[in-house]
């Protein structure tokens, strides 16, 4: 007997089981994605001016940097830096590479990753989940020698984890269990006894995104539970110059804030607060009115006195808040603020202090930025997809140095908490099928 491949394929799907396909969920998901993806879209081309002058060599743009003024992009109401203001960093002079690891082909299979760095300088190294390692395993890797101390198995199936704390005494990882809505699980590894312990809370509401939760300095997990979702205007979003929907200045989403003690499964409470994005410093809790759209006001609560104050961050007329972080007296807000002529995007990384004073705004077309290191003075990592200006940039909150570390970006993200002055980045390998991850440290 001879079997025809095409016929067998067609026969296999001749009878299709019924499915509960929810087209409404697709449309709702699409609306949300239009906003979330704003950081990932590559913008147009070319120029820059800077209200803050940084000396040093300019990055080289083959066709010129984006012409923000000609495109009609508004100047932020703050000292402003553009990518052309960054100094091309020199390894050994501006920064040191402490460790690197290459995955040759991540298209073929998942690989190994740097998930962060402990306070005592060891890399949390994750292997999998991948074909031959279906359950991820973790090691603490000495960046100097590459030697790995494999930790006892963490029995979490193929669940993803995000490190909340990588301390000298313990490692705290977050994961979620469930389907569309997940119950949060915190995994604590005691580095002295080398034991994993898991904590979950039956009374804590399940959430869609487990990684919105933040660990507070009081050892409580602060969990944003969806409250209201920003809606598109009637008739849908206006279309930008490139034909894509442009949701700049969108109504934001809000969350009811819950918290749970990492040391007690019955210690769960509704904080009685509605927030957008949330972050902690050692001294304060910082939050916005809403997120994934207009941020509203920024609120700062003194954790010692309980006193609240708030201010208008003056982010601009059309800015959607996409990332949020805080350290010491600095607040970092990643934003998409619209697309202008020739497809030039207004992407910003706004740095304020906790009194509402503007420190600096990094503005680019096709850039995204987050607070990478929340230790010491703090380091902001900026990834740029600007043609000719693409690569990884570092803004040191302590010194104000703005450095271009690489001239290319991969399709993968390397992130995790790092100690003072350290940061993670990656470069593409093997025609962007893989990547090399690096751990670096700014020099004084």
């Amino acid at each position: 007997m001879v079997n025809d491949l095409g016929e067998l394929l067609r026969d296999n799907v001749a009878s299709t089981p019924h499915d509960e396909f929810d087209l409404g969920a697709v449309v709702a998901g699409g609306r949300r994605r239009v906003r979330r993806r704003r950081f990932a879209v590559i913008g147009g081309a070319a120029l820059a001016t800077a209200a803050v002058v940084v000396t040093g060599s300019l990055a080289s743009w083959e066709s010129g940097p984006p012409d923000f003024e000609a495109a009609g992009v508004p100047l932020p109401a703050a000292p402003t830096l553009r990518l052309t203001d960054a100094v091309t960093a020199t390894e050994g002079t501006d920064y040191r590479v402490l460790a690197s690891y290459t995955n040759e082909n991540l298209n073929r299979d998942n690989g190994q990753y740097f998930d962060g760095v402990t306070d005592d300088g060891l890399i949390l190294f994750r292997d999998g989940p991948r074909m031959d390692q279906l359950q991820p395993r973790f090691a603490l890797m000495d960046p100097a020698t590459g030697e790995k101390d494999w930790l006892p198995d963490l029995d979490i199936g193929q669940a993803q984890t995000r490190p909340l704390e990588l301390g000298e005494e313990r490692l705290v990882l977050l994961s979620g269990q469930g389907g569309m809505r997940v119950n949060l699980v915190v995994h604590v590894f005691d580095r002295e006894t080398r034991q994993w312990d898991a904590m979950t809370w039956p009374d804590l509401p399940a959430v869609e995104d487990p990684f919105g939760a933040v660990l507070g300095p009081d050892d409580r997990l602060y969990v944003p539970v969806p409250a209201t979702e920003g809606q598109p205007p009637k008739g849908g979003w206006p279309t930008g110059p490139g034909g894509e929907a442009d949701d700049a200045g969108a109504e934001g989403d809000t969350y009811r804030l819950w918290s749970a003690s990492v040391t007690g499964m019955s210690d769960v409470r509704d904080e009685g607060l509605t927030v957008g994005s949330l972050a902690f410093t050692d001294q304060s809790m910082v939050w916005t009115d809403s997120t994934n759209g207009e941020a509203g006001r920024v609120h700062v609560r003194d954790l010692e006195t309980g006193e609240d104050r708030s201010f208008d961050p003056r982010s601009g007329e059309r800015c959607n808040l996409l990332s949020f972080g805080a350290i010491d007296d600095r607040i970092v807000m990643g934003q998409y603020c619209g697309t202008y002529d020739d497809g030039v995007r207004d992407d910003r990384v706004q740095v304020l202090d906790t009194d509402g004073d503007q420190v600096v705004t990094l503005q680019g077309s096709g850039i995204e930025g987050t607070l990478a290191s929340d230790a010491g003075g703090g380091v902001v990592t900026v990834t740029s997809y600007e043609p000719g200006g693409d690569g990884t940039y570092i803004y040191d909150l302590d010194s104000g140095r703005f450095l271009r570390i690489t001239e290319d970006v991969s399709s993968w993200v390397t992130s995790g908490p790092t100690p003072q002055g350290q940061f993670l980045w990656n470069t593409p390998e093997n025609w962007n099928r893989g990547m090399t991850q690096y751990l670096g440290e700014l020099t004084d």
């Binding site: 491949l5 095409g6 067998l8 499915d19 697709v26 298209n107 998942n110 279309t239």
Partner: protein, 174 residues
């Protein structure tokens, strides 16, 4: 403005076909539905420029294949990858054609995801090498080599079983 009514009409019309393609790649109807949902969300995002260019279905197919490959690469869900039911009745118990279909799904599941995608796109969707390369975002040479390896694996499975050999019609074999 984004024309949601037109998108909904398009999605209703194509989701069955996309689900069948996704099923042949992942071997599970529920996962196939997930891939179609993810693919159609990507279509929604790109809808205004797609309708202008008139290439909605090609984009949707590419989006579903990408969703499948992304999922295979990330292994990010909490679910263990599902393989086709290997306890289906053997060829001795039922008609040979049923056994052949089950054998094919089982053999497909043993292939790496991109080889599986090549087979489905070439022999189910009847795409050319060039069109398959465009969907997968790789060179035509890669499609040829991946397909060749996949067919060799499938043929060896069939040759080693009592259900007979495997042939391909239409698409070129190499």
């Amino acid at each position: 403005m984004r024309d949601e009514a037109a998108f909904v009409e398009f999605a209703e019309a194509v989701r069955g076909r996309l689900r069948r393609t996704a099923y042949l790649m992942c071997g599970d109807w529920d996962q196939a539905s997930d891939h179609v949902q993810e693919g159609l969300i990507r279509v929604y995002v790109a809808w205004p420029r797609l309708t202008k260019a008139g290439r909605e279905y090609a984009y949707a197919r590419k989006a579903v294949v990408s969703a499948f490959l992304d999922n295979a690469r990330r292994r990010s869900s909490t679910e263990v990858p599902i393989e086709p039911d290997r306890d289906l009745p053997s060829g001795q118990d039922v008609a040979e054609s049923v056994a052949s279909r089950a054998a094919l799904l089982s053999a497909l599941a043993d292939l790496p995801p991109r080889q599986r995608a090549c087979v489905v796109l070439r022999y189910f969707e009847d795409l050319s090498v060039a069109d398959t390369a465009a969907v997968l975002g790789c060179s035509e040479g890669t499609v040829k080599s991946q397909t060749s390896r996949a067919l060799a694996s499938l043929r060896s499975t069939f040759d080693a079983s009592p259900i007979g050999g495997l042939m391909t019609e239409g698409a070129t074999s190499w």
